[in-house]
Symmetry: C2
Subunit: 200 residues, 2 copies
């Protein structure tokens, strides 16, 4: 018996799951589930995740886990990727919520429009909002990363995995990460860590 | 020495912080910080939270914590409001990320437009998106709450605090929570718990 991951290979949120399972050397079966083709909205998939989103992980006892950052916290527990409770862990949690609220909705959505759907011409207003929001997120990250190697003082953690997910492909959403020096050097530093397998 | 909370009284995200500190009987000073009037974008405030958002909490040693759901996890650790690591905790984490990605951006934003800013006439398209997204979120919650008293099997947790924050005032964003029977009964059940102080 192995885990089953329902995911879409092009998705940064699904990449997070592949990455933490690979780091933990946990084997899994992958069921490609193309959200862009409606595969996350079928009656069968909605039994797996009523919210209609990938990734989802089925554990060997058939328990289903959803929400990419919750899956990261699940598999990082008691590893160096997640510090123990207290301020150190809370710093990681801050970045995980920052990622889902202030980064992904802009950086991932811009990439989705420009790279995966090729729909930039018809979504100029939405893209402009993504550009402003994403650049704000990169400024906040750069404020930390210009003077520190990782997002928190605990070394590389799931905060870095989570924010690397879409930062690594931000150019596909039209972002010039080189303009945010702290972010650009961190992306290169993180990609060079042992066991990290960038999305491309 | 006591904690300092930077918050806006009308904000559900800031209510979460008031609520967990009250449940923990932790005293704090409150500094009203009106995001709608630009108070979260001043140079002084950006030193507290570079992301320019409330709530933020200053601990007695001057450590700053941000992100409402990270603050919930911080103060819930080792209480009944947060189960120990494993699937039980991961269930709470799923709902916390669901709240910030799939609920707050629709339910809180609709309330912000209609109730706090009174700007509904000029934001019809945005409001329609909020309506669709928020109703989807309430359907997902109701799927759980129609047959279970709380969002997870661990009794009331910070998952319930987090999702109660804006569900309790969803009507101010034009949502009819009564249409989602599981959610409506859960709102009443949660509001009646000892130590819960609803936003109004």
């Amino acid at each position: 018996m192995t885990l089953t991951v329902y995911g879409m290979r092009s998705s940064g949120n699904c990449w997070k799951v592949e990455q933490i399972l690979s780091l933990r050397r946990i084997h899994y079966d992958w069921i490609e589930t193309d959200a862009t083709a409606g595969a996350t909205r079928t009656a069968d998939f909605l039994k797996i995740n009523p919210n209609g989103k990938v990734p989802a992980v089925k554990l060997v006892d058939s328990t289903i886990l959803t929400e990419s950052n919750a899956i990261l916290t699940h598999f990082a527990e008691e590893t160096s990727w997640m510090p123990p409770p207290g301020v150190a862990r809370s710093r990681v949690m801050e970045w995980l919520f920052f990622e889902q609220y202030s980064h992904e909705p802009y950086v991932a959505v811009a990439r989705n429009i420009m790279h995966l759907r090729g729909d930039a011409d018809r979504q100029q207003e939405r893209l402009a909002q993504c550009r402003a929001g994403g650049e704000h997120a990169f400024r906040v990250m750069s404020g930390r990363l210009a003077t520190h190697p990782w997002l928190t003082d605990s070394g590389p953690t799931i905060a870095d995995i989570s924010l690397f997910a879409y930062s690594q492909v931000a150019d596909q959403g039209g972002f010039d990460v080189a303009a945010f020096a702290g972010v650009a050097s961190w992306v290169a530093r993180f990609a060079a860590l042992p066991g990290i397998n960038p999305l491309r």
